[in-house]
């Protein structure tokens, strides 16, 4: 796995106990570096480039399986020591954070001022801001609030040459220079290592309300959700789940399908949206369901990676165009799936617009975009 002389490769040997956390698609690095500042991270990259060593940057380790298996993986560059909130001015609605800061930690800081970053990547307790950007990790609230690219206003990146370069800035409106934030978003660390990210933030919605409706058929639930997402007062999240998935999310399901909706906004808007939901549910032959929502419902939907119950299905209707296909073709696939009676988890559409992998490790994106 290692070529050249290991002595010139930076970092220390990977210890046995950390091996599992650093393994990417079965490939284990020989060395690991935990840089404490920008210069150390950039210096590591320069030394690796000189030694011809392959580097994979590791944040919270929640999305390491994205992309093709690494062709070379000698050094793991772990951002866990770069975890500070560098600047935050609530009245400007902007902040500057180091890449290794956990998403949840940032949300907690913002929450003190009644603000948030309206992105909900899976496993926010482990996922880092840098990793979220590099993996373009979004959650189900994306249809309403946009994805990572809509919230990153500036970026600091270390490149293989050892250069540290910035793009964008700290203001919410800025067209100076190329928008390299977009280029690094979802690039999986293949172009450089994200070290700092400048973000827009927002005031938390005044009110948040979860509604549930029961449906007999999947198409009804999906059509209802799609109709709602095209409205001006679109729900923040809409998730249709079958009975088994509902059970694992703690939903008390008496109907084959449940549509769970999260409405957010100003109080008056949420009230009006709730009325619209009831109308839409009735017109799609569903029934509003009273009762408490399970506490972990939305976290469960957000983190729905590999269902514990392989038969369970979560249909995410929060994206107008799952799979990039038009809604009708999605619906016809859904109908075919309903008729076929097959409930393999591979069929479950997810919010990334593609099937979430089954419990065994799989890949849901194809391109080979690992650094070599």
């Amino acid at each position: 796995m290692t070529t050249g002389s290991t002595t010139s490769i930076p970092g220390r040997q990977v210890a046995a106990q950390e091996r599992q956390g650093l393994t990417v698609d079965g490939v284990i690095p020989s060395r690991v570096v935990h840089p404490q500042d920008l210069e150390e991270a950039a210096g590591t990259l320069r030394l690796c480039a000189q030694a011809g060593a392959g580097v994979v940057v590791v944040g919270g380790g929640t999305q390491l399986r994205l992309g093709a298996p690494p062709r070379r993986f000698d050094v793991a560059l772990v951002t866990d020591r770069l975890d500070r909130l560098l600047e935050y001015e609530p009245a400007d609605l902007t902040c500057r954070v180091q890449a290794g800061m956990k998403v949840e930690a940032l949300q907690a800081e913002l929450g003190r001022n009644g603000q948030w970053l309206p992105l909900d990547p899976p496993s926010p307790d482990r996922a880092t801001i840098g990793g979220m950007v590099a993996a373009n990790a979004c959650g189900p609230a994306r249809a309403r609030y946009g994805s990572v690219r809509d919230w990153v206003i500036g970026i600091t990146v270390a490149y293989p040459s050892g250069a540290i370069a910035r793009a964008g800035g700290r203001v919410v409106k800025n067209v100076a220079g190329y928008d390299l934030m977009k280029l690094h978003t979802g690039a999986l660390g293949t172009l450089g290592v994200i070290l700092e990210v400048n973000l827009k933030v927002q005031a938390r919605p005044e009110q948040s309300l979860t509604l549930q409706a029961g449906f007999d058929r999947a198409e009804q639930a999906a059509a209802c959700a799609l109709a709602l997402t095209r409205q001006y007062l679109q729900p923040a999240v809409a998730a249709a789940v079958d009975r088994r998935a509902g059970a694992s999310l703690g939903l008390d399901a008496e109907t084959p399908f449940t549509l769970a909706l999260r409405l957010e906004g100003y109080r008056t808007e949420v009230d009006a949206a709730a009325a619209l939901v009831e109308e839409a549910v009735v017109s799609h032959r569903g029934r509003m369901r009273a009762g408490e929502r399970p506490a972990e419902l939305w976290a469960g939907v957000r983190d729905w990676v590999a269902p514990q119950d392989p038969e369970a299905v979560v249909l995410a209707a929060w994206v107008p165009t799952p799979s990039g296909r038009t809604a009708p073709s999605w619906q016809s696939r859904l109908r075919a799936w309903c008729r076929s009676g097959q409930r393999g988890p591979r069929r479950a559409p997810c919010w990334r617009g593609c099937a979430r992998p089954p419990a065994r490790r799989g890949r849901w994106s194809s391109p080979a975009r690992r650094p070599s």
């Binding site: 001015e89 609530p90 009245a91 400007d92 609605l93 902007t94 009644g114 373009n136 979004c138 994306r142 946009g146 994805s147 690219r149 809509d150 990146v157 490149y159 250069a163 540290i164 370069a165 910035r166 793009a167 800035g169 700290r170 203001v171 919410v172 409106k173 800025n174 067209v175 100076a176 220079g177 190329y178 928008d179 390299l180 934030m181 977009k182 280029l183 978003t185 690039a187 927002q202 005031a203 005044e206 095209r230 409205q231 001006y232 007062l233 100003y266 008056t268 808007e269 009230d271 009006a272 107008p320 165009t321 990039g324 038009t326 809604a327 990334r352 617009g353 593609c354 391109p367 975009r369």
Partner: protein, 490 residues
Amino acid sequence: MEAAARARLGRRLQEAVGARYAFVDPYEIRLYQYDASPETALPDAVVIPGNAAEVAAVLRICADEAVPVVARCGATSLAGGTVPVEGGVVITFPRMDRILELDLENLRAVVEPGVVNLSLSQALRPLGFYYVPDPSSQGACTIGGNVGTNAGGPHTLLYGVTVNHVTGLEVALPSGELVQVGGRKAVEATGYDLTGLLVGSEGTMAVVTKVWVKLTPVPPVSKTLLAIFTDLRSASNAVSAIVKGGILPAAIEMMDQLSIQAVEAASHAGYPLDAGAVLLLEVDGIPESAAELTERMGRICREHGAREVRVARDEAERQALWKGRKGAFSAMGRLAPDFYVMDGVVPRTRLPEVLDAIGAISDRTGFKICNVFHAGDGNLHPLVLFDAFKKGQYEAVLAIGDEILKLCADAGGSVTGEHGIGLEKRENIRYVFDEDDLAVMETVRRVFDPSGRMNPGKLFPTGRPAPRTEPQPPGGRRPAPAPAQDEVWV
């Protein structure tokens, strides 16, 4: 370019797009030497392709002849973005102005680059949708040009700028190859977000031939409020308080005293002449939420010293409140023959001190500076008033512009919020980016355009000042073309 080479280029272009749509005649190409900025430069040839394949063919010819390529649509750039400063071929898009596809189910439209921004929204309105980014020149500028500069507008505060509303592009590369990046789906699938990179690249990488845009449902109501303050500082503080208090207005516009006086003289919008600042606030929503938010914003304004708050009760009153703002740039003609507009951005909380510093520059230099701007996102548009025929004034004004941009950059802001770097600010970009930053951008550019022929002389510092165009006698008067329409505003 030599006459023979130019003639050959013209012939080849004519073969590609038809004799009528390519020309090198010195008289005919004169129209294409300028945009809305003060500088001018003549192209060698102008071509008006009718479709993407013709654009690609033109680019192949340009590659073959090794000549620069400048894409130009409405030519409303205030930064000289479409001035062919190194000559070459100007490609312009009046023939490629079709809306190719409307997909209301998925909230997408596919348009050609020459579609005028406003006409897209006008086409969509009856269907209950619109295209959100609304640059001030939206009656003339095109979607292709908006993509080039990542154009903004007053309503970007809540909804974002062009890049947030474009999900895919078809572009012709400098080699003449047509490629598609992104597409109908939301830009988050797999692969690099090249759409996001190309938007705002000011034509330095590729030429856009097709654009996938997001459609947005028209809000049920928009409610507008005008707050009158005795000074700029309290108005700025009110803006911060509103935004921090959890209200996200669709637009927050501000005007200072000098602007108010000019506007009032021109449009009689009813602004008190002794007011230090007016704020124009707009919220979108359902009637209930809009009414409540207007109420809350009015209260915050009063708490921060607003002496009067007016709320538009109907659409006619709303238009009346906006009238002064929309006519602001045209109204400047009452104060001076020329103005020079800048496009700095500062963090919202730094607005008061930056506005004070701009006031100090005005006092020191004796040039009047008006401030009419997008206060919600800290995007300043200082207008320096001058007379281009008075010797030395234009140079002095450029120096003032430079000083103001430095001020914005030092306050943690940027040298351009929506107009682009273009020709005008290619040296000022150094105020926000260092050598390493620019080197990475240059590397990225070379991936697309290895020979550096795409809109050369723009965006990147050259170490040379922008070529100057001397003010000419009336008839060919430059710089600062006075806005022709009543409603030109930035």
